[in-house]
């Protein structure tokens, strides 16, 4: 150290001054942060209140009902029975049949929707002439009210009345034909939705990448499989997630087409029958909570298994 005492002292004073200003700056910074956070909370407060009223309250009330023996036919017998309703539901073959049917419709439906939706999305993405017309006409099924569409499918498949119905049998009175018709109605209705989401993903694939891949020697199929699909994985995931969750809660198509006859009820149908028709609020609520939990599990599994992170980010969702 060759510094003279005076310069060292000056240095020390400077250091102190530095520390002081830094502290003040930090203090101001954190004050500003606090004020900003407070303002933010105040701004979202009205929305939070509304959400609590319309979402949190019904959910919590349904959960409470599911723990009670709440049967409107015998209102006086209402008592807290903890998980008894759940035991009743989970040991009932009606529930499990409906669960199986719902899963089948969900998985088969979503698979077809993904494949057909992807095809439609590519067509809409690549169309050069009449793009607007192609896109609009492709979206027509999605624009039709589900109940209306379901009625037209029902008429189409009614024996002696519909253009699709065979002469010798009534498909909507048998289990497997009914299931396939339900899936058909679901797929027809939601392919455009799927295509729309996937098309948004396709639009984000840079044209240069596909050109580069073709220069690198990739055929059209390999370009799609090795470049496009990995890049639009987030869009595929979102589309599949939305569709799976929706399909698992399928109601209107089944309600119109078969009314749940021949064991074609979905879980939502069964819950509706118990809650609204049977007036058994406890059992119905327990089923609703189970449906809620299942959709939650499906969403969780999607995010965990496939990862929701954008491609290229090293902090992927796969960990």
């Amino acid at each position: 150290m060759t510094a003279t005492p005076t310069s060292a002292a000056a240095q020390a004073i400077e250091d102190v001054a530095d520390d002081g200003t830094v502290q003040i700056a930090q203090q101001r910074h954190s004050d500003a942060k606090k004020a900003e956070r407070k303002l933010g909370l105040m701004l979202v407060a009205p929305a939070v209140v509304i959400m609590l009223a319309v979402a949190a309250y019904p959910i919590l009330y349904a959960f409470w009902l599911s723990l009670n023996k709440a049967d409107l036919r015998r209102p006086d017998d209402n008592e807290f029975i903890f998980l008894d309703n759940y035991i009743t539901v989970l040991s009932s073959p009606i529930w499990w049949t409906a669960f199986g049917v719902t899963m089948l419709i969900t998985i088969v439906g979503a698979t077809f929707e993904l494949i057909l939706g992807m095809g439609l999305a590519i067509v809409m993405h690549r169309t050069l002439v009449g793009r607007g017309l192609v896109r609009t006409s492709a979206l027509v099924p999605y624009a039709i009210v589900t109940v209306v569409a379901a009625f037209s499918w029902r008429f189409a498949w009614t024996q002696g009345l519909g253009w699709l119905a065979p002469e010798t049998s009534a498909p909507l009175t048998e289990f497997w034909p009914s299931i396939w018709i339900i899936i058909l109605a679901e797929v027809w209705k939601t392919v455009p939705f799927m295509a729309l989401l996937l098309m948004a993903g396709l639009a984000l694939v840079p044209e240069d990448l596909l050109k580069a891949a073709s220069m690198d020697g990739a055929s059209a199929w390999k370009r799609f499989w090795l470049v496009t699909v990995p890049l639009i994985k987030p869009a595929i995931l979102v589309a599949l997630l939305f569709r799976t969750l929706d399909a698992f809660r399928v109601f209107d198509n089944i309600f119109i087409l078969t009314s749940g006859s021949n064991q074609t009820s979905s879980v939502s149908m069964v819950a509706y029958s118990n809650l609204i028709r049977g007036l058994n609020l406890g059992i119905g609520s327990a089923m609703s909570v189970l449906i809620f939990l299942t959709t939650g599990l499906i969403a969780f599994a999607f995010i965990k298994l496939f990862g929701a992170a954008a491609p290229g980010a090293d902090a992927g969702g796969k960990r």
Partner: protein, 391 residues
């Protein structure tokens, strides 16, 4: 490695727009060719036609002796480096570079070896497991180069590969690209709008404008003997100074710089071209000099009211405006539009590059000399270089 021939190639879009007109070029094996021109001149379209990304409307494209007009890009065995690099974001650097080999069905061990070699060459060895998103611009550019190198293609096509880099990195990568190309000896077609890249990289340079080839030649030839006003104004930085002038009998020319007698060599070629009357004179900045430093070398002198002086150490740049008409031609107007330099100060703006010892000061008048043997004489109407015509 192969030679590439473009034989009367034309690109016309369905809406009738002519992007490339009658493009003729023979690229020798291992040659480094630069396509240069302002934006929209058809240079990228030409490159894309060679790549197979755009259809060829008319003419023949021959690679290695085969007409490949109708071959898909993947069957042409040429690699391309894009301006955006076009790296696959979901693959690691190593996978990106090995992708062409993987598609070609090469076994994993060979891919690993070849990618390793290329990575060594490009100093990317420690980045092979990273994703492109985590690389700097320069590294991404090198990965794109690596992807082109690994498969040892017949030719490299590069579409403005350095445009997305900052100035310093661009200069570094420029020399690196040049070195790699020389080492590998692969035929290369390189598109740029930057005349500096064109001058420094190419064995030969093709200057294009509005879909038409203006001139093909070595950088030095283009610089010394531009075929027309457009090439003259495009090549060189700072660019050539243009003065409208009048050619009189006896080899004298009158411009804003006064009357000057052209040397015999220039005069002879002018007489050969049979031209008198309106011309545009072009003088490169470095062909001016402080008159007191010249001695009695042949040339002409004039008084210049110096506006600005920039001392660069090795040289001095002097800027001044000479009263008189500004040179007007379609060529020069196009150039001005491209560079955004459409301002005129009511005279001819001149840039002169003088020796460091030049005695010029801002606001003072200086006596300058210019080398009449180096002046270019262009026909005012057609823009053609009248001096180069005889050569």
């Amino acid at each position: 490695m192969a030679e590439i021939v473009l034989d009367h190639v034309v690109k016309r879009y369905p809406d009738g727009a002519l992007a490339v007109d009658d493009f003729n070029l023979e690229i020798a094996d291992g040659e480094f060719i630069i396509l240069v021109g302002p934006s929209g001149c058809g240079k990228s379209t030409t490159l894309n036609m060679v790549a197979g990304l755009e259809d060829i409307t008319a003419g023949k494209l021959i690679i290695d002796g085969q007409v490949v007009n109708d071959k898909a890009p993947k069957d042409r065995d040429i690699a391309m480096v894009f301006q955006s690099y076009a790296l696959y974001p979901h693959m690691t650097v190593g996978d990106n570079m090995g992708f062409p080999l993987r598609l070609a069905g090469v076994d994993k061990e060979t891919i690993r070896k070849k990618v390793g070699e290329a990575a060594e060459l490009l100093e990317l060895s420690q980045h092979l497991d990273r994703k492109p998103a985590n690389l700097s611009g320069g590294q991404r550019q090198r990965v794109a180069m690596g992807r082109a190198i690994v498969r040892n293609p017949k030719a490299f096509l590069m579409d403005e590969p350095l445009s997305n880099l900052d100035a310093k990195l661009r200069v570094q990568m420029r020399t690196q690209i040049s070195r790699i190309q020389k080492n590998l000896g692969t035929t290369t077609l390189y598109v740029t709008h930057d005349q500096t890249e064109a001058m420094t990289l190419g064995d030969r340079v093709v200057v294009m404008r509005a879909g038409i080839v203006q001139q093909v030649g070595t950088p030095a030839h283009l610089y010394a003997h531009p075929a027309n006003l457009f090439v003259a104004g495009f090549i060189g930085s700072p660019s050539m100074n243009f003065f409208p002038g009048q050619l009189r009998g006896g080899g004298t020319v009158v411009t804003a710089l006064g009357e000057a007698r052209l040397p015999d060599r220039v005069r002879q070629s002018l007489d050969g071209a049979g031209s008198t009357g309106e011309v545009i004179i072009g003088i490169r900045p470095e062909h001016f000099e402080d008159a007191s430093l010249v001695g009695d070398k042949p040339g002409a002198t004039f008084d210049a009211p110096i506006d600005i002086v920039e001392a660069m150490g090795s040289d001095v740049y002097a800027y001044f405006t000479m009263k008189g008409d500004v040179a007007h031609s379609q060529d020069l107007d196009d150039l001005a539009k491209d560079t955004g330099n459409e301002l005129h100060s009511g005279g001819v703006d001149v840039t002169a590059r003088l020796d460091a010892a030049a005695q010029v000061q801002r606001g003072r008048t200086a006596r300058l000399w210019y080398d009449t043997s180096k002046v270019q004489v262009f026909d005012a109407a057609s823009g053609k270089n009248l001096v180069a015509a005889v050569r």
